[in-house]
Amino acid sequence: MADDVAQFEEDTVDARLAAEALIVDVDGYEGPLDLLLTMARTQKVDLRKISVLQLAEQYLAFVEEAKALRLELAADYLVMAAWLAFLKSRLLLPPDPSDEGPSGEELAAHLAFQLERLEAMRKCAAQLMARDQLGRDFFARGIPEDVTRVRRVTYTATLLDLMQGYARIRTKDDFRPFVMDREKVYTMEQALDRMRGLIGFAGEWTTLSSYLPEGWETDPVKRRSATAATFAATLELVKRGALELRQGETFAPIEIRRKEGA
């Protein structure tokens, strides 16, 4: 028996080597399980009561016959034959207590389950195809009306758009070629020009802020710019020796005076 198994294993290897040669599949069967199912039906019993041993012998006999006829079987048929030969040995020999693998009965039960399941699926497939089918027995609408897509455009605007739009129109006359907007910037050159004209009158200590140009004292942005420019201009004039500069303490008003003899 063990020799047989070895023999089959050899055949399997041979079959693999011959893979490129012509392999005659078993006509009309969808694989070894299908063949087994057909054989099982010849036992004419409920698949649950089938004799797996008898089935294995039937299959092995079939394979022997095929070999005698010099038919080359597809590899999976030979693999199945090897497995069934192994199963047969398991079923016939008394169980070896030291053996850990599944018993012959368990393997046989699983094969029976596989056959029953395949048979059940065959039946389901047949039932499914026997149902009324769309386009053959029942029909969909012959003139389907497509959903037409209507695109509607709505327009929107926000209050901000409106206000910006209005502001744009109302200030349109102000638009001029692009230049740096310096309306709130008082330059040091402007301050120097102004201070040069004024220092002649600065005989006494006077606070710097009193020299800010007219109209630049109230708007904080303008005042800051004018203060900075005027301060820078006075530093320049101090450097040239035209002015004197003092501050009583930190953050105290800065005072200026014409330098005597300048």
């Binding site: 029909f139 609408r141 209507v150 605007a157 409106l162 910006q164 739009g165």
Partner: protein, 212 residues
């Protein structure tokens, strides 16, 4: 009807209720209208499609689907009043054009405003389409005619306009001063004009006095 079908035999014509079912199924599945002759040809021998059609037509009276005569043939169609269900409306929201926004703003701030006044303020002509669009949106409507030569029509903003922009009245529109505070008016009034916001507003009020 199910009782009737039991009487059906191979040798007699099916009962009329059954014939009606047949006509119904054929008209439903057919890709084009079907003539009475064709119906009779497809139905079992002895059927009277014309009579079945009369019954079927009555059955569908007032329903969502109608049995209609199309030329010499018959067809089933969805009821005309339900055509709106066969349309899927996609609403696309677009931003109003700059010209439309400016025109709308001028009408809102200066209403009632004539086309000539709008053009004078914008400094460019106002296209017919722009005004029509605003009329269609129901944001502006015609006001009283101006009692000046030519009796030009005026435009005023509508309640829809106020609703859309969340305003109680057109008077709630922010004035130039507020626009400036909001940083929307960067520029000073043109030098030499001396026009402060309030003055400008007064002038407008004068201009449109009789209307407001």
């Amino acid at each position: 009807m199910t009782d009737d079908t039991e009487e059906k035999s191979l040798f007699e014509a099916p009962p009329m209720a059954e014939q009606e079912r047949m006509v119904e199924a054929i008209l439903f599945a057919s890709a084009e209208p079907v003539t009475v002759a064709e119906l009779n040809g497809r139905m079992p021998h002895g059927c009277d499609a014309a009579e079945a059609l009369v019954m079927l037509r009555k059955r569908y009276d007032g329903r969502g689907v109608q049995v209609l005569k199309v030329g010499e043939a018959w067809a089933m169609r969805t009821a005309g009043d339900l055509g709106f269900l066969m349309q899927k409306e996609t609403v696309e929201t677009r931003k109003l054009s700059r010209a439309a926004i400016e025109t709308l703003a001028i009408i809102a701030y200066h209403q009632p405003a004539t086309r000539a006044e709008i053009e004078e303020i914008r400094g460019v002509s106002v296209s017919r389409g722009t005004v029509d669009q605003l009329l269609e949106l129901e944001w502006i409507r015609f006001g009283r005619r101006r009692m000046t030569p030519g009796r030009p029509v005026t435009y005023v903003v509508t309640q829809s306009f106020l609703d859309h922009f969340g305003l109680e009245s057109a008077r709630d529109l922010p004035g130039l001063k507020e626009l400036r505070a909001a940083g929307l008016l960067e520029n000073r009034p043109p030098p030499g004009t001396g026009l402060e916001d309030e003055e400008a507003q007064d002038e407008q009020d004068e201009l449109f006095e009789d209307e407001s």
